[in-house]
C-alpha cells in the first residue's frame, strides 16, 4: 500500500466545543487513500465528536475539514450532500430506519441518488447483503435483527453506493468476539477488493491490532499520536503506552494534591 499520495481528508486546526466546553483542541491530521486509519482513545476523549465534525454533522468551532479536495465549511447544503454521497458511514448503533425492512434500508441511497431500474437496485441490495453475510435478511425489519446483524445491514447500506471513503463508528461495540472479528475481516476485505479508505473509531485493542495501518490517538480532546501502529506500540510512557498496555489511568494511585493531607498519630 502506498500512502505518499494526496490526502483524501485534511483536517486543519479543528476545535470543537459543546457550549463553553472545548471537546477537541486544535486537531490536525491527514487521511490517505486506501488506508485503514483507526481513531482511538479512551471513552469520552472526543472520537465520535471528531467524526461528526469531519463529516459536517456538527459545525466545527474553528478550523477546516477538506474532503475530496472540497472544504466542507465552504459548501452549502447541496454541496455538502454531494460530498456525503461519496461517503459511507456506519453509525455506532446502526441507525437503520425502523419503518423500513433491511432491504429497503440498503436500497434507500440507491433509490434516492441513482436512476437505476428497480430490478437492478434489487440485485445490488442482494449483493450488498451477501457481502455482509446476510443474504436472507432483506425482508426483516431492524427490530427483528440482532445487534450484530443490524450493524452488518447498516454496513451494507453504507456501502450501497460503493463509496471511496467509509467511516465506522465503533463497529465492534457491544458485539461478541466472533461477530466483531467478522466485521474486522469484512473491513479488510473491502479495502483489498475495492481499495476504499476506511476510518474506524474504536477502542477495541484486538480490532486495532488486526485492521489498523495507522492510528490517531486522542486523549482528553487532544491529538497525542498520529502515525503507524507499529511505532505507536513502541512508545514508552504516557497515555499511548498506557492504552496499549492497559494501564489504568482513571484510578488515583497517589493522594490527590488538591485534597488536604492527613495528620496521622500512631502510637
Amino acid at each position: 500500500m502506498t500512502i505518499q499520495q494526496k490526502p483524501i481528508i485534511e483536517i486543519r486546526n479543528l476545535v470543537a466545543r459543546y457550549g463553553d466546553r472545548t471537546v477537541l483542541h486544535d486537531i490536525t491530521a491527514d487521511f490517505y487513500p486506501s488506508e485503514i486509519r483507526v481513531i482511538l482513545g479512551t471513552s469520552g476523549c472526543g472520537k465520535t465528536t471528531l467524526l461528526k465534525n469531519t463529516i459536517g454533522l456538527v459545525k466545527p468551532y474553528s478550523g477546516t475539514v477538506t474532503i475530496f479536495g472540497q472544504e466542507m465549511g465552504d459548501l452549502d447544503s447541496e454541496g455538502t450532500a454531494q460530498v456525503l454521497k461519496k461517503i459511507g458511514i456506519l453509525f455506532q448503533n446502526g441507525a437503520l430506519l425502523g419503518s423500513m425492512t433491511s432491504g429497503e434500508n440498503v436500497a434507500l441511497p440507491l433509490k434516492m441518488h441513482t436512476d437505476l431500474p428497480d430490478e437492478v437496485i434489487h440485485e445490488i441490495v442482494q449483493l450488498k447483503l451477501a457481502q455482509v453475510d446476510l443474504p436472507h435478511a432483506a425482508n426483516l425489519y431492524p427490530d427483528e435483527l440482532s445487534g450484530g446483524m443490524r450493524k452488518r445491514v447498516a454496513m451494507a447500506r453504507a456501502l450501497a453506493l460503493d463509496p471511496p471513503l467509509l467511516f465506522c463508528d465503533e463497529p465492534s461495540a457491544g458485539l461478541d468476539p466472533v461477530t466483531s472479528n467478522g466485521l474486522d475481516e469484512l473491513l479488510l476485505k473491502l479495502r483489498e477488493t475495492l481499495g476504499i479508505t476506511i476510518v474506524v473509531i474504536t477502542h477495541e485493542l484486538l480490532s486495532i491490532e488486526k485492521i489498523a495501518d495507522k492510528i490517531i490517538f486522542l486523549d482528553k480532546g487532544r491529538l497525542l499520536y498520529d502515525g503507524l501502529l507499529s511505532e505507536a506500540r513502541a512508545v514508552t510512557g504516557g497515555p499511548v503506552y498506557d492504552f496499549f498496555n492497559r494501564t489504568p489511568q482513571n484510578v488515583t494511585t497517589e493522594a490527590d494534591n488538591s485534597r488536604p493531607l492527613f495528620h496521622v498519630e500512631n502510637a
Binding site: 461528526k52 463529516i55 454533522l57 447544503s77 447541496e78 455538502t80 450532500a81 454531494q82 456525503l84 454521497k85 461517503i87 458511514i89 453509525f91 455506532q92 448503533n93 441507525a95 437503520l96 430506519l97 425502523g98 434507500l108 441511497p109 433509490k111 434516492m112 441518488h113 447498516a154 447500506r157 484510578v251 488515583t252 494511585t253 497517589e254 493522594a255 490527590d256 488538591s258 485534597r259 488536604p260 492527613f262 495528620h263 496521622v264 498519630e265 500512631n266 502510637a267
Partner: protein, 361 residues
C-alpha cells in the same frame, strides 16, 4: 464516641471495627460542625468501605477548610494507604445563576431567541422543501404521501366523526334549554350550524389531530433523532426535512380540511337528531334553516383555517421532535410538550381567526 452534634474541642472519636455504611448512617459526624481538634481513633478499625472513606475525607476537608485539625490516630498502614488511594479530586459544583434575576432573565431570553430561530428555520425549510424545493430535489420515498395520509388523516375519521357528533348533541341540548325559555327553539338550527361551520368543526378537528397526529409526529421524529436515524439520513446526502416532515406536511394539509368538513357534518347531524327527536322540529324546517345559515364565506374561511391549523400541528410536532436530546425519557417529555403547546397555539390561532369572520369582503 460523643453523642453530641457538636464535638467538644480536642474530642476523640473511637471508630468501630467496621467503619462501614451502617455505622456512618447512625453517626452524628457527617453533620457535625468542626470545633477544635478531632481525633479519629482507628485502633479497632479493620474494615472500611466507601461510606467510611467518604466520611474521613469529608471531615478532613471540612476541618482543614475552617483552619482546624483532624487527626487519624492508631491507623493501620493498609487503611491509611486505602484512604490516600481514594483521595479523588473534589468536583466543583457548577456555578448557579439562581438568585440573580437579571442573569436568569437574560438566559431565558437568549434561550427563547435561539429556540425561535430553530423553530422558524424548521417552518421555512418545511414550506420551501414542500413547495419550490420539490423542483430541486425529491428526497422522499414513492408512496409515502399515501401512507402518511392514511396514518395521519384517514385513521382519524372515526374519532373526529364520533366526537363531533357527540359535541353536536351536547351543544344542541344545552342550547335548546335556554332557547325554549324564549320560545325560540327554531334558532337551535342556526346556532348549531354557525357553531359547527365557523368554529367547532375546524377547532375540534385540529385539537384531535394535535393530540393524535402531532404527538405521533413528535414521537416518530424524536425517536429517529435519538437512534441517529436523522444523522444517517443527512450523511446519505438526503434532506431530512423533505424526507421526514414534508410528506407529513402535505398529508395533514390535504386531509385536515376533509376532516374538518366531516366534523361540521357530524356535528350538524347531532343537532339534527336532537331537533327531530327532542325539539320536534321537522326535517324540512331544519334543512331550510340550515341552508339559510351556511355562508360560503364562512365555509371558505373555515377550510383555510383548518389548513393553517394543519401546518401549525406539523410545525410544532416537528420542532419538538427535532429538539429532543438524550434518551427515551426525553422523547416522552417532548411529545407531551408538543401536544400541550400545539393545542395552546391552535386555540390562540382560532381566537385570531374569529376576527377574520367579521371582515367584510
Amino acid at each position: 464516641m460523643t453523642d453530641s452534634n457538636q464535638p467538644p474541642e480536642s474530642a476523640t472519636v473511637t471508630l468501630p471495627e467496621r467503619l462501614t455504611r451502617e455505622w456512618v448512617e447512625k453517626s452524628p459526624l457527617p453533620t457535625a460542625k468542626p470545633a477544635g481538634t478531632l481525633r479519629l481513633d482507628f485502633a479497632d478499625t479493620r474494615v472500611i468501605d466507601s461510606a467510611g472513606i467518604a466520611l474521613v475525607h469529608l471531615l478532613n476537608n471540612r476541618y482543614n477548610r475552617t483552619g482546624q485539625k483532624l487527626v487519624l490516630c492508631n491507623i493501620a498502614d493498609d487503611l491509611l494507604l486505602t484512604l490516600k488511594k481514594w483521595a479523588v479530586a473534589p468536583v466543583e459544583k457548577p456555578v448557579s445563576s439562581r438568585g440573580n434575576i437579571f442573569v436568569r432573565l437574560g438566559d431565558i431570553m437568549i434561550r427563547v431567541y435561539n429556540e425561535s430561530v430553530v423553530a422558524l428555520s424548521i417552518l421555512i425549510e418545511t414550506i420551501y422543501w414542500g413547495t419550490f424545493g420539490l423542483f430541486r430535489r425529491q428526497d422522499f420515498r414513492r408512496g409515502v404521501l399515501g401512507d402518511q395520509m392514511y396514518q395521519l388523516g384517514f385513521r382519524a375519521i372515526g374519532i373526529v366523526g364520533l366526537l363531533s357528533f357527540i359535541l353536536g348533541i351536547i351543544l344542541s341540548i344545552q342550547s335548546v334549554i335556554q332557547l325554549r325559555q324564549f320560545g325560540a327553539d327554531v334558532f337551535l338550527v342556526a346556532m348549531i350550524t354557525w357553531g359547527m361551520v365557523r368554529e367547532l368543526g375546524p377547532l375540534i378537528t385540529a385539537i384531535i389531530l394535535a393530540g393524535r397526529s402531532g404527538s405521533a409526529t413528535t414521537a416518530e421524529i424524536a425517536t429517529m433523532v435519538v437512534q441517529e436515524e436523522v444523522d444517517a439520513l443527512k450523511t446519505m446526502g438526503l434532506n431530512h426535512i423533505q424526507f421526514i416532515v414534508v410528506p407529513k406536511f402535505w398529508a395533514v394539509s390535504l386531509t385536515m380540511p376533509v376532516l374538518a368538513i366531516l366534523s361540521m357534518v357530524a356535528g350538524i347531524f347531532g343537532g339534527l337528531i336532537i331537533s327531530l327527536f327532542y325539539v320536534n322540529l321537522t326535517l324540512d324546517l331544519f334543512w331550510s334553516e340550515m341552508v339559510k345559515n351556511i355562508y360560503v364565506k364562512d365555509f371558505i374561511i373555515s377550510v383555510i383555517k383548518s389548513v393553517i391549523f394543519s401546518w401549525l400541528i406539523i410545525w410544532i410536532g416537528a420542532y419538538f421532535g427535532f429538539k429532543v436530546r438524550g434518551g427515551a425519557e426525553e422523547v416522552g417529555k417532548e411529545t407531551t410538550s408538543s401536544v400541550v403547546f400545539g393545542i395552546f397555539v391552535i386555540i390562540i390561532a382560532d381566537a385570531l381567526f374569529s376576527f377574520i369572520y367579521d371582515i367584510k369582503f
